[in-house]
Amino acid sequence: MDGLRSGDRDAFETFVRLFAPRATRIARRILQNEADAADAVQDAFISAMSAIRHFRADCQLTTWFHRVATNAALMKLRSKTRKDIRSIDELLPGFFADGHRIGPKPAWALSPDQILERSERCQIVHKKISELPEDSRNVVLLRDIQQVSTAETARQLGVSESVVKTRLHRARQALRSMFEEEFEVA
């Protein structure tokens, strides 16, 4: 880690050769295109090197790099689809004065496994995650995807645990609304 932080060439090469296969697996899965995946892997290492100074020694390097690589692939996907970041506030549920939810809809007809078994639907899930604001996406990547604890997520992102909890709940609700736009019963 010290070598990486100080810009040591050999440490960087070791890091690249060790983590490029994992970054490639992530990027291929999300982008399903070899050229785009290669671009995303390059972007992941550029992001990693510019952020390495802020990496905390008490955090897992593999967890940290998985988030960086997944973010790079999702950003590449979003740039290809020319979608903008969605506003979380606009995706949160609304309520009447008596506390009932406005416009409730039934549960989705397909289970998560059924949705993900088709690659085009899996791509929709990736695209929707890519449209979350970065703060929200990072929390989802760590807490829900990598299943890292709230305390570890807070350490990695440099925020309090209560901020992690609030961001996660808002992000899940926003993502739920985006998925509902795609997967609700017609």
Partner: protein
């Protein structure tokens, strides 16, 4: 404990899903869910959202990382090292 509204339930749904509530609060949530199909549907789609994100993006630990990384790509990355 006073009766919960749908808004109360959804505001603290993360605690319910992540099982970080007290037993007393959990009982109140369960009581509301028994009588509110709209919140049952919301809870199911909230959980499905977590499953979808995890299923689509989690690393497949069982599959070995690819061993066909082009050396050309490795060299491009090495040349892009910020201090160069």
């Amino acid at each position: 404990m006073p009766e919960l509204s749908c808004q109360d339930l959804i505001r603290f749904l993360d605690d319910y899903v992540d099982m970080t509530q007290s037993d007393k609060v959990r009982v109140a949530f369960d009581g509301h869910l028994k009588n509110c199909p709209n919140c049952v549907a919301y809870l199911k789609t909230y959980r499905d959202t977590i499953s979808l994100a995890r299923g689509a993006c989690a690393e497949d630990a069982a599959a070995p990382p690819p061993d066909d990384i082009p050396e050309e790509l490795i060299q491009i990355i090495l040349k892009s090292r910020p201090s160069d």
